[in-house]
Symmetry: C2
Subunit: 132 residues, 2 copies
DNA sequence: ATTATACTCTACTTAAACAATAGGAATTGT
DNA sequence: ACAATTCCTATTGTTTAAGTAGAGTATAAT
């Protein structure tokens, strides 16, 4: 049970975007240097945010990224999900045939509850909460 | 962010012990067969519960395991911690020199809060809750 | 005592996931 | 044209999880 570097780096990237929201476009290089993260790696992470629709991109010289919504409208759950896929503590949470006993598996409810706990928590916090 | 098989198998093992608490000793083989888990692997997991003081062991023929306390007195946090070590979502939670900026790292508080959220939840549930 | 049973200890192997690197293509401002 | 910047995708390296293996130790039953 660890948070991946993709999610951690991704948060740092999104925080930069939030701090510069409505001010300027943010470039990969800039975040890469200030956070000491490989720019090539960060590119991939930024890409997943783009795919998730969390950022808007301007290509070419003087291009860069900006949030596609206000910091208040972007939850931490959306960020972590974009970075590392759906939050699924155990496969039995979403795959119905993972555990033969699923319907009467005594543990299933616990995992589902815990998973909901975590997603509710992350879903209730926004980028705005983090930067202020 | 996944729960390891050690923890998942470990829970199943502990549930068997809870269901047989004050009834009989439970053997690795028995759980291994009924849950379709490698007995050698389960041995290792059972060992970590022993080290954590969660189970009592009787060696030799007719030996086996039983809980060292009542199911109500064993939290799920203790079980998962015994199985996969301390729950630490990010290294910056416990290692003070992991992030140079730790004191003013904007994310640290979030990880600590989320970690506490999860440990509080698991700490508030007991084996008894699961089996009843 | 001997034997069968069950836990103990430790080393090794395999497989999967994570993390990072690499390089060229496409786009845009000057 | 050229430099800056994102886009795409393939590959490599590293770490951890997962599982296997086997010899050793303790105990109950006979």
């Amino acid at each position: 049970m660890k948070v991946s570097t993709k999610a951690r780096y991704g948060f740092k990237f999104m925080i930069h975007l939030a701090l510069n929201y409505n001010i300027k476009l943010v470039q990969i290089r800039e975040v890469s240097v200030s956070e000491k993260i490989s720019s090539k790696y960060l590119e991939q992470i930024a890409m997943s945010f783009k795919i998730a629709g969390l950022v808007k991109v301007t290509r070419g010289a003087k291009g860069g990224y900006t949030l596609s919504r206000t910091p208040k409208e972007i939850t931490l759950l959306e960020i972590i999900t974009a970075a590392e896929g759906n939050l699924v503590l155990t496969d039995c949470i979403e795959s119905s045939d993972f555990c033969q006993k699923k319907d009467d598996c005594i543990m299933n409810k616990l995992w589902v509850d815990l998973n909901n706990h975590i997603t509710d928590y992350l879903g209730s916090k926004t980028l705005q909460d983090i930067i202020s």
